[in-house]
């Protein structure tokens, strides 16, 4: 019984993933845009680092790799929602979803996994190849994304990235649920991505924020999306002390999943389906 349930969810992920992989032209345009953006960011960072001789909490080499990873994994951040789910909520077709013999939260969570991974795969692979191999080939060695120090670091990065994906999906689910609660959650969903952007470390790597803010920055949930996996990759978080950070990622993911489930169940109980 439970295994057929499980395979149904796997089917949801893979069908949706393959569907989203079709948008290749858009992905190419996205790749060029992210590349351009990455170049601007790197030049700005070079200029800032040139201004100061003091040792910084993060070296410019680490920052450059951090920026490229960020450009590659952009699609994984929870700053958009599933357009189909949004349309269903708007039109009321969401009631059909309730008829399916699946758990709604898990069903949507699976769709969200596909949403967060498909666009990311299409953009991340060319970006990583270009930043790691292409840039040194054209002579921009300083600009290149460096490979991780060793295999264990890479594995730790992959694990942490998996946790970041769970966290991102759990948070995207919260955005979906907010939309079920109130359609005017639209305004909220426009503002949230900006918060995510700043506090994940996407705009400026978190270690570069003022020291007095670090206490807060270390505990807040969005750090698990970008800052933790990327700093593990660059070695800025040493392997020995990576475990608590990964645990924090999982903790926040669990909190968001719990919250999202509760809110979804609550709103489904109150939902009135109009006939016709």
């Amino acid at each position: 019984m439970s295994s057929t349930y499980f395979s149904a969810y796997v089917a949801v992920i893979s069908a949706r993933y393959r569907g989203l992989l079709q948008y290749r032209a858009a992905a190419f345009a996205g790749f060029v845009t992210q590349l351009f953006w990455g170049c601007i960011k790197i030049m700005i960072m070079f200029a800032f680092f040139a201004a100061s001789d003091e040792p910084q909490p993060m070296s410019i080499v680490e920052v450059v790799s951090y920026i490229w990873l960020g450009q590659a994994m952009l699609g994984m951040l929870p700053w958009s929602i599933d357009k189909d789910i949004e349309a269903m909520i708007r039109s009321g077709d969401v009631s059909y979803e309730l008829v399916r013999p699946l758990d709604l939260y898990t069903f949507w969570f699976c769709r969200t996994i596909a949403l967060r991974t498909a666009t990311t795969t299409l953009r991340a692979i060319p970006m990583v190849i270009f930043a790691m191999i292409g840039l040194p080939l054209v002579g921009a060695v300083d600009w290149a994304l460096l490979p991780p120090a060793d295999l264990i670091t890479f594995l730790a990065f992959v694990i942490s990235l998996g946790c970041a994906l769970m966290l991102a999906c759990a948070f995207t689910m919260l955005m979906h649920v907010v939309l079920v609660w109130t359609i005017s959650g639209e305004g909220l969903n426009r503002f949230i991505p900006a918060i995510v952007n700043v506090f994940s470390g996407m705009i400026v790597p978190l270690p570069l924020f003022p020291d007095w803010m670090q206490g807060f920055l270390e505990w807040q949930p969005f750090r698990g999306l970008v800052d933790v996996p990327f700093r593990i990759y660059t070695g800025n978080i040493p392997l020995g002390s990576a475990a608590p950070d990964v645990a924090l990622q999982l903790l926040w993911a669990a909190v968001f999943i719990w919250l999202g489930r509760r809110m979804l169940t609550g709103s489904m109980r109150r939902m009135v389906v109009q006939g016709g």
Binding site: A25, F28, A29, M43, F48, F49, R190, A194
Partner: protein
Amino acid sequence: MDSTRSPEGARGGFAENVALYGRYISISIMSQMQYKLSFLLAVVSQLLVTSLGVLGIWVMFSRFGSLGGWGLHEVLVFYGLVNVAFAIADALATGFDRFGSEYIRQGGFDRLLLRPRSVSLQLLGHELALRRLGGFTQGLIVLTWGLGHLDVPFDPATLLFTLYIIGCAVCLFLAIFILQATLSFWTVESIELMNTMTYGGVEASQYPMSIYEPWFRHFFTFVVPLACVTYFPVLVLLGRDDPVGTSRWFQMLCPLAGPIFLMVSIQVFERLGVRYYTSTGS
């Protein structure tokens, strides 16, 4: 009546066009004001979103102190100016921005061609996006904040020169939007690439151009003359010499590249694009 039907009058006189644009815009504003709360939320959320962008700049300055000889307040002037100009252009150019999706793909362009008025005028009249007020206000606050903390005299000359820069920058951004619309005669996809010129251009010119690599700077000076409407004239405003070594005359006159670029792009749009256009027929 007759004059509008004769070939010369087909595009209308100047005063008539201005009146028509005014009418388009007043209708657009009225329709946006139908949903006051939603409008207010959009403005406020945009204000907050753009404010977080400044947070990034502040973080970097609090960590590093300066940027290649530039201080925080000087960078804020660059930031404020380009964002004010972009917000205005973005508000004006909604019709061009959505040209590919709404007019070409859905065939609405045929309707515009049937009317005896300039296509560009009708597209400009598509909407005046008031929700851009958020970005505009935020840019203006940052600009005055930056200028207020610098030794820039607050007099009519400064004000006029600032308006001159903003006007020219608006022209340039409008031109980019129009070129983007022109591109959609050929392809409705890959419009995202043009975002590197608009949003990417804004991002780049939030910082003084002198910090960038020469190839990048040259691209934004000679290909898409964004530096001409932001970086160079702001040097005059701030009373600073160019680390790259351009003359004051050049810095004062180069913003005119904006209006020139705009005139060229309108010509390209109306002649090349419209001639190429074949309706989808739907």
